[in-house]
Symmetry: C2
C-alpha cells in the first residue's frame, strides 16, 4: 500500500532532470536536485535545489544521505560516494556497479565481450603513446574510431582517425581504438527495469546524426528498418539489460552495418535523448517509466500513441551569449508539434537548448516538418 | 519574431494553475503566482510565488504591475484592480469585462438573455426575503434551482428547492431562481480565443456528476450523444464565445434536457475541470491553448488523440487531515491511465486532490476502469 512517496534526489540538474521533474510534478513526488551550476535548468522546477560538485565524495554523500532514493541524469558522478550510500540503505538507481562499468568505455567494451554481446572489435591503451606505438607496429589498423575511456559525450571524446597525425590534438589518457564500422543506420532501444526485475522495452528508434557535430539530430519512431532487424535489435538490447541487471532506464545504442550486423555501440543508464519523443509519443514516457522504476511501481505501457519524430534544437555555431530565439513561432503553426525549451540562459555552439517532437500518422511528413523547423529556427545570441 | 517570452502572472495557485505551469515549464516560460494560501499547490512549481489576498485591490495591483500579462485560475479576484492594470498596459486575459459578468450569476444570466443565447428561465432577487415573497405570491414556481449570485463553486451556492423551508440555511444575499430543468445530460465545450480573434474549439465532452456532492466526477470524451447534438452544442458554445469576445479559455457548460433542448448553464473563463483530459487526450491541451492565447501565438490542434475518460479524485467523506493515499498503485496496473496528484497536504471531504485520465480506443472500457479506480482508491487521513 502506497501511502506517500519517498524522497528522491537527482544528481545533475540539466534537461534530463527537468523532464523527469515534469513527470514527478504530475504526481507531486518531491524531487531534490544537485548540480555544480547555480543556474542549472532544474533550479526553478524542483522542490529543493543544491549547488555542489557531483564528483566530490563528501558532497554527494551529504546530498544523498537525506534521501531514500538517488538517481542520476548525468554519468559523471562520484561512484565511490554512491557505494557508500548503498551501504547505508539509500537506494541508488542505477546501481554503482552499473555506473562504474558505463563510466569507463574500456570496461564497458570488456563487459560486452565477457557477456557475449555483439560489439565492434576494439583494443584498449593506457596512453596515447601506447596507441601510436601499436599503429606504427601495425597492430592497430587505420582507419579506426578513437574514444577517450572516460566522460566523452555528445560527440566529444570520439573521433575517426585516418592517419596518426590526427591523434595530435587528442587527450593523452586511457583510450580505445574501435574497429571502423560501415554504418547503415544507428538505432536505440530503451529498456526500463524495476527492483522486482520487471522489464519494459520501448520500440526501437532510428537515430540520425549531424555529420559535422556528430550529435544526434533527429529520432524517428518507428525506424525505417525491417521487422526482422527490429526484433533482433530488441533481443540484443534485452540481452544487454539482462547482463547489467540495472534498475531504472538503460538506453542501448546500436549500429546496423552494411552486412546487416547489429552491434552494441554504448549504453546510458539514464533518460536518453533518443527517448524524448516518448513524452508525447508513448503511453508511458521514459521519464514516467524511470519514476515508476525508482518507486518500484508496475511499469507502464511504452507503446506508440502515434509515429513521432524528435528534432534537437542546438545553439547556433555563430555566437555564444544570452539566448535569443528566432522564428520559434513557426512551430506553433504545425499541428502535432510539441515544443520543449530547456530554459538555458546562455546559448553556445551545439549546446542542446531544446527539442521538438512531431506526432503525425505519416512519419515522412513528420520528418519533413522536423527538417523544415530545424532549418527555420535559430537559437543564438546578439 | 518571438525572441523571448514575456512575464506572465497567475492569480490563484491551485491545481488549474499548477497544470498551466506544467505546460509553461515545457517551454521554460516564467510564471509568477499569487495565492492567499502559503501552502498553495503551485508554490514549488512556479518561478516566483507570492502570498496575497486576491480580493484586495492594492495587493492585486502590486502583483500585476510588474508583469506583462496577467491571467486567473480562480474567478474570485478583485476586478477593479484588473481594470486598473488594463489601463496601465498590462494585458489581462480574461479581460475584466468578462470576469465582471461571470462573477455575478445574475449578470451572467442577463447577458445570455440579452445576447439571444438559450438558457433556462430565471428570476433574480436582491435578497432571500424578496424570493420568499415571490414564492408566496405564486410568482416563482416550485421546484426551482436556487443560486447565490456570487462565488458559488463545485456544488456550493447551488440548491434545488422543493419547498420554502429548504431556503432556510441558505445565504440571505442576491440570488437567482432558475427554472428546474429535467436534465438528460450535462455537456461542456471549451473554446480558446487569442488576441487576434482566432478561435479553436475542443470536442464536446459529457460531464457526469456525483449525485450527492453535485461535483463533476467523470468526463467522457467523446460524449455519448448524437452528431446532431454535438454540432448544436458546438455552435451554441461558439455563439457564447463570440458574445463574450474573451481572450483565453471559455468553458461553456450546457444542459441537454428531455426535450432535446440545449441550454447554457454557466461559463468559466479559465481552465476547467472538463478539460483536464486534454493534457493526454488532445494534441494541444487546454493549458497549452491558454498559454498560446496569452502569448498571442497561433492556437494548436485540439483534436482527440484517443477517446478519454477523466475521473476526479476527491477527499473521502470520513476524515480531514494530513493526506494519505490508499491503493494508488492500482492505477499503475492499468495501461493508458495517467495520474495527476495536486500535492495538497490536507485532505478534506470532497476536496479535489487529483485526477486520472484514461486513454482507451474503447470509451466504455475506459469508463469502467475509471469507475473501478474511483471505488478502489481512497484519499483520506489517519
Amino acid at each position: 500500500m502506497l501511502v506517500q512517496f519517498p524522497k528522491i534526489g537527482i544528481l545533475g540538474g540539466g534537461q534530463l532532470g527537468k523532464m523527469l521533474i515534469d513527470q514527478a510534478n504530475k504526481w507531486s513526488v518531491p524531487l531534490s536536485v544537485m548540480d555544480f551550476d547555480s543556474n542549472a535548468v532544474c533550479k526553478n522546477h524542483c522542490t529543493d535545489f543544491k549547488v555542489g560538485d557531483l564528483m566530490d565524495y563528501k558532497t554527494v554523500i551529504d546530498f544523498g544521505s537525506k534521501l531514500s532514493i538517488v538517481t542520476i541524469e548525468i554519468e559523471k558522478v562520484n561512484v565511490d560516494a554512491l557505494k557508500f550510500l548503498e551501504k547505508n540503505k539509500v537506494k541508488v538507481y542505477p546501481q554503482s556497479k552499473v555506473l562504474e562499468i558505463v563510466q569507463n568505455k574500456v570496461k564497458q567494451k570488456e563487459f560486452y565481450k565477457n557477456n557475449g554481446i555483439a560489439t565492434s572489435d576494439f583494443q584498449s591503451f593506457k596512453t596515447k603513446s601506447d596507441l601510436i606505438r601499436s599503429i606504427i607496429q601495425n597492430e592497430t589498423k587505420l582507419p579506426f574510431i578513437w574514444k577517450a575511456s572516460r566522460f566523452g559525450y555528445d560527440g566529444y571524446g570520439v573521433k575517426k582517425i585516418n592517419k596518426i597525425s590526427e591523434l595530435e590534438p587528442l587527450d593523452n589518457g586511457e583510450c580505445l581504438a574501435e574497429e571502423y564500422i560501415d554504418i547503415v543506420k544507428e538505432l536505440s532501444v530503451i529498456i526500463c527495469r524495476n527492483h522486482s526485475g520487471e522489464t519494459s522495452c520501448f520500440p526501437v528508434v532510428e537515430m540520425i546524426f549531424n555529420p559535422k557535430s556528430n550529435q544526434v539530430e533527429y529520432i524517428l519512431c518507428p525506424p525505417r528498418i525491417s521487422e526482422k532487424i527490429k526484433s533482433e535489435a530488441t533481443d540484443l538490447a534485452k540481452k544487454v539489460s539482462e547482463s547489467f541487471q540495472h534498475i531504472g532506464l538503460l538506453a542501448v545504442e546500436l549500429f546496423l552495418d552494411r552486412k546487416q550486423r547489429l552491434l552494441v555501440n554504448e549504453v546510458a543508464p539514464r533518460p536518453h535523448n533518443s527517448g524524448h519523443w516518448s513524452i508525447e509519443g508513448a503511453y508511458s514516457s521514459q521519464y514516467q517509466q524511470l519514476l515508476r522504476a525508482l518507486l518500484n511501481l508496475p511499469l507502464g505501457k511504452p507503446d506508440i500513441i502515434s509515429p513521432s519524430v524528435m528534432v534537437n534544437l542546438v545553439g547556433s555555431k555563430k555566437k555564444s551569449g544570452p539566448v535569443i530565439y528566432k522564428n520559434l513561432e513557426k512551430i506553433f503553426q504545425i499541428n502535432g508539434a510539441f515544443l520543449h525549451l530547456y530554459g538555458k540562459p546562455i546559448s553556445r555552439p551545439n549546446r542542446k537548448m531544446g527539442h521538438i517532437t512531431l506526432l503525425d500518422k505519416d512519419l515522412e511528413n513528420a520528418y519533413q516538418n522536423a527538417q523544415y523547423l530545424k532549418q527555420t529556427i535559430e537559437i543564438s545570441s546578439k
